[in-house]
Structures are given as structure tokens and as C-alpha cells.
């Protein structure tokens, strides 16, 4: 957590901060109530997933928050594990964001699967080591424990012990991220995710949204606490901005590869799905979300201001986060829309399967997102208070 110059001695957060927290929590609770309803009555009645498209919108926030957690852990490790001084002022808040991001992701997947209460028992007593999902669940659970330990040790000032847990966390979350990709890639029926560049693409996207979130939430924190950023923190954010720019250029390259795959079949293993994404029904998502919001707008904002203004960096961050969320939605859905027997001249088989998220899916996604935001605000109020007491 970044330490600010003390401006008042009050131990309670101001009323407007509490109201913001309550409002965010309320929206979170409403969203999660839809999740509880879904769990009680069964997904069949509330979700828009089908036999043909079994993975719907709810996979998107899960992938997004798990990758966000990965990216945040990567960036925090630059200061904490790799010892780069410039990034050290960002470490504590970034570790906390990584923790709540993983919690949001796990919450979302728990609401997405039909019988989550069986997971813990059978993952432990009937493990399937050939399954990437089993590895992912195990690794992300261990990562969460390691990150909790890391954060608590940071809070009590035991930095050496915290660093050991941070090292474990970064190794675990990298493995988890590669499993996330393999999980999709190895699905026999859907070739969409088996492009050769995917493992590096997933890691790069994670690092990208990690940077974007740091830029956005540190700026939000300064606004929320009504305080001016200290010079070291300002420098750390500018360094993150430069890293963000470099990764954006990398993602731009991958985006060009996708565009080529969408127009020229020989550049992809999955021409039908890539064409649907780039030229078909998902073209709006692709060009506005994946190209415009995720890559071009952040690039332009950073280029025009030379990455010096934190508010512009934060704006680039929110644009990128929105674009990458759309990107993950496309990634999950588009590959499933190609019919299983499309080359068999089946009568009445649609050219593409269809899927649109239901109200419950949207509300659960909103609930999970607002859980993340409420937890962020809660962290700002709680840990600032600890700082004041500590003085």
C-alpha cells in the first residue's frame, strides 16, 4: 500500500467514503443475489448457456480477474521479488489488488459451475492430474494463500518473509496462467484457442491489464483520499506507464496477427472462427473493443502526453481494461459458435450457433466486478487507518 503524507488525525474514514463503499457493496450484493438464485433454481432456468455453447458470459470475468491477478502479481514482483527500487512504492497496494482480483475471479467461477460444493472434496480426494482445470484450481488456491500471507507480512513490516511468499506466488500464478490457456487450448472440439501464440499472448495480456489496473487504481486512490501523489509514487506510475506502453506494442503485434487470420485463412488454424471475429457478427466487438479500446486509444493517449500525466495514464488504463474484458468475452464465446458438424452438410444446421447473455449472467458479472471495486475501497479505508494508527 502506498504511504501518503498524513493530512488529518481522524481514525474514521469520512462519511462520503463510507457512502461510496456502501453503494458499491449494495450493487455487489444485488449481483450476487442473482448468483444465489441461479444456484438454487439451476442454471437451466436462469443462464443462456446451451448444450452447444456451454460456456457463457460468466467465464469472461473469471478469466479477466484471474489474468488481472496474474498481471498485478507480476508487476508487484518487480519491486518485491526482483528488487527494482522504482516499483517498490507500488508493492503493497498491488499485492492487495492482486488478492482481491483472484478472490473476484474465484467467486465468479464458483457461481458459474453448477455444483461448486463438490469441488473442494473431489478435487482433494479424486484428483485428475491430466486435467488443466484441476491444476488451475489447485494452483490458484495455493496462490491465494501465498498472497494472503505476503500481504499480512507486508502489513506488519516483515518484508523478508513477505518476499519469500511473493516468490512462491509469482511462480504459482505464472503456472496457473499457462494452465488457463492450456485448459482452453486442449478442448478437442474447439480449435479456436489452439493458435501457437496463445501462451505468450495470455501472459502478455495479463501483464498489460496488470499495468492498466495499477495506473487506474493508484490514481483513483489519490482522488478518493483527496491527496497529491508523492514524487516516488509518481515516478513509479510513470515507470509502469512506460512498461504499459511496451506491452501495448506487443499486444498490437498479436492483434495484427489476429486481423491477418481473420482475412487470410492460411494465417490461422481456425479460419471460420477468426472470420466471425474480424468480419462477422463479432466485428464490432473486435474493432471497437479489442483494437480501439484495448490498444489504439491507450497508445494514442500515452503518445500525446508522453506518459507524463497520471490522469491520462489512468484514462488509458480504464480504456485498456474495458477493451481486454471484451477481448476475453470474444475469446470465450466465438470459438464455441462454430457448429460441431459444419462440414457434414447437415440440414437446418445454422452457420453459427448463437449466444446472448441472460439477465442473471449480466448481473452476476456486475456483482463480481463491484465486489472487486468495493474491496478496493474497503482496502483504502482500512489500511490508511492502520497507517494513521501506526504513526
Amino acid at each position: 500500500m502506498t504511504f501518503y503524507t498524513k493530512t488529518n488525525t481522524s481514525t474514521l474514514p469520512p462519511m462520503n467514503q463510507i457512502l461510496i463503499f456502501v453503494a458499491l457493496t449494495l450493487i455487489c450484493v444485488i449481483g450476487l443475489a442473482f448468483g444465489l438464485h441461479t444456484m438454487l433454481v439451476g442454471h437451466h432456468h436462469t443462464l443462456a448457456t446451451t448444450r452447444e455453447v456451454p460456456w457463457g458470459l460468466l467465464i469472461t470475468p473469471y478469466v479477466f480477474f484471474a489474468c488481472l491477478s496474474t498481471g498485478l502479481c507480476m508487476i508487484s514482483s518487480l519491486g518485491q521479488v526482483f528488487g527494482i527500487d522504482t516499483f517498490k512504492p507500488l508493492v503493497t497496494r498491488t499485492v492487495f489488488l492482486s488478492l482481491i482480483s483472484m478472490a473476484a475471479g474465484l467467486m465468479c467461477i464458483a457461481l458459474e459451475i453448477e455444483t461448486p460444493w463438490r469441488v473442494g472434496f473431489y478435487a482433494l480426494f479424486s484428483p485428475q492430474p491430466f486435467s488443466n482445470i484441476w491444476w488451475k484450481a489447485t494452483i490458484y488456491s495455493l496462490f491465494t494463500v501465498a498472497t494472503i500471507c505476503n500481504f499480512l507480512l507486508l502489513m506488519i513490516g516483515r518484508h523478508k518473509s513477505a518476499r519469500a511468499f511473493a516468490t512462491i506466488a509469482i511462480v504459482l500464478v505464472t503456472i496457473g496462467n499457462l494452465n488457463m490457456n492450456s485448459d482452453m487450448e486442449l478442448l478437442g472440439a474447439r480449435g479456436f484457442w489452439s493458435e501457437g501464440y496463445m501462451p505468450l499472448y495470455f501472459l502478455s495480456l495479463s501483464a498489460l491489464i496488470g499495468c492498466a489496473a495499477i495506473l487506474l487504481f493508484n490514481w483513483m486512490s489519490s482522488r478518493f483520499n483527496n491527496q497529491i501523489l508523492q514524487s516516488q509514487e509518481d515516478m513509479a506510475l510513470q515507470a509502469t506507464g512506460r512498461l504499459f506502453l511496451v506491452i501495448l506494442l506487443g499486444i498490437f503485434y498479436f492483434t495484427v496477427v489476429k486481423i491477418m487470420g481473420g482475412f487470410i485463412p492460411k494465417f490461422t488454424n481456425n479460419p471460420e472462427a477468426m472470420a466471425l471475429l474480424v468480419q462477422g457478427g463479432f466485428a464490432h466487438n473486435f474493432w471497437i473493443g479489442e483494437v480501439g479500446l484495448a490498444v489504439l486509444l491507450p497508445l494514442a493517449l500515452i503518445a500525446f502526453t508522453k506518459g507524463k500525466k497520471v490522469i491520462v495514464l489512468a484514462l488509458a488504463g480504464i480504456s485498456c481494461l474495458t477493451g481486454v474484458f471484451i477481448l476475453f468475452y470474444d475469446l470465450v464465446i466465438v470459438g464455441q459458435l462454430i457448429p460441431h458438424f459444419q462440414h457434414y452438410n447437415v440440414v437446418d444446421l445454422p452457420q453459427y450457433y448463437s449466444y446472448s447473455p441472460s439477465l442473471h449472467e449480466i448481473m452476476i458479472s456486475v456483482g463480481v466486478t463491484f465486489f472487486f471495486l468495493a474491496a478496493f475501497i474497503f482496502g483504502e479505508m482500512l489500511f490508511k487507518k492502520i497507517y494513521v494508527y501506526g504513526q
Binding site: 528488487g83 463438490r118 511462480v171 486442449l186 452438410n345
Partner: protein, 255 residues
Amino acid sequence: MKGIKLDKLKNEGVETLISKERRQFLRFGLIVTGVFLGGSILSLTSAPKAQGAFRSGKVVPSVGQFPYKPHYTMVIRQGNCIDCELCLEACRSTNSVPAYGYRTIILERRIANAEGEQERAFMPILCNQCNQPSCVRVCPTGATYKDTTNGIVRMNPNKCIGCKTCMAACPYNARYYKEEDRAIDKCNFCIDTKLKESGGKTTACCAVCPAGVRIFGDLTDPETAAYKLIHTPGNVFWVLRPEKDTLPNIFYMDA
């Protein structure tokens, strides 16, 4: 604009670098490489082929190379199918399949004949009981598994967490979520119903087929009709979606 002449610049050499910085830089590089390689290697832990997988490089395995005994199979004589759907009804009533789902279905195809005209053909679809099943490969709890005795891909509904990854992974769209069981359901060659009753001789769909479309049998038993059909010289077979490399045990022929 005047460019920098690199060859005129004095070589600063590595000795000017502070050794602590060099060590830090090297350590940084090693850690990054280690994390990435470690992650890559460990993430491949689940990459080996599914247990019990059988590879012969051919659609139909050679005699004596079957991984299971009995090795249950089904031959579908597609040209005989008239789409009467008695097999679907038998499947529903025998295996308590709800109205919103199905274990087997018949798809109607248009196939060009030698004269270039379009002909109708009916293609029954069911679980292909693959020797290399992608559904088994992805299940995190072993709820779906390959029976090591007879090769049938089976479900243990008590272990199913409802992640539906097996549904996403199946190239044949052969699985559905059964609300009543809160688990995935699929064709299991009636192993707990008709196959059991008949002493391993037939399934519900085969028993009612009036046109002899579905021929159930054991690839290790030369007396079964399926074995005889498959091993008759001149008969041409194919499997669905061979590019998925799942090694199905459902074989299709014209008639």
C-alpha cells in the same frame, strides 16, 4: 541531421558497471527465465495422452491390438437409416433421458451423388466412446472416465461439479447437463440398463432398430456381427471428425 558515429565512440566496457548492478541484472534475468520455463514445464504436466489411449494409425485397429476386453463398439450402417426415431425413444425410456436432453440423435444430411445430385442421408450420432477421449482428459475430478475393462466412457454423477468443460471438449456434441442428477449425462452403451440385462449383447437403440442400422458388438469377439462387418474385406468405414484424433469406437458405413 547528424547521426551518431558508433565506431568513433569509446568502448565503455563492462568493467565500468558496478558489480552489484550486474549481479542484480543477471539475477533478474535468471529469475524471469526460471519463472517462465518453470511455468511452461509444470503446465505441461497434464499434456500426456489420456491413459488407455490406443494408437494404430488406422481407423479400425488390427486384430489383437484392442486395448480392452470386451472392447465394445458400434457399427452404423448409415444407408439403411429411415429416421423412424425408434432408437431415440428406446434410449429415452430405458435410460430416463429427460425431454430437454438426448443421448443420441439423428441428423439429416444432403450428400452429392456421382451424378452431382443431392441425396438425403440420415446420420445417427451418439457418444463415440473414444479411445482418446477429450472429455475424460479435461475433467478435473474424474467424474467422467474411461472404463478400464470395456473402454466405455462413463459418468460418476456424484463427482460431477458441473463445470461443463467436457461438453465444450466433446467434438460430437454428445453430452448434456441433466438437471435431475445435477451432473452431465451421456450415452454409456446402456451399461447399467439394457446391456446389463442382455448379458453384454445389445443396447436399447440397437435392440429396437427395424432396419439393422445400429450394430453393437465386441471387437475382440469374432462371433459378433460388428466384428464380422468390420473385418470383412471390401467394406469401407469412416469415423466422425477424424481430425480431432480422438480414436472413436463408432464406425460408419454406407449399408
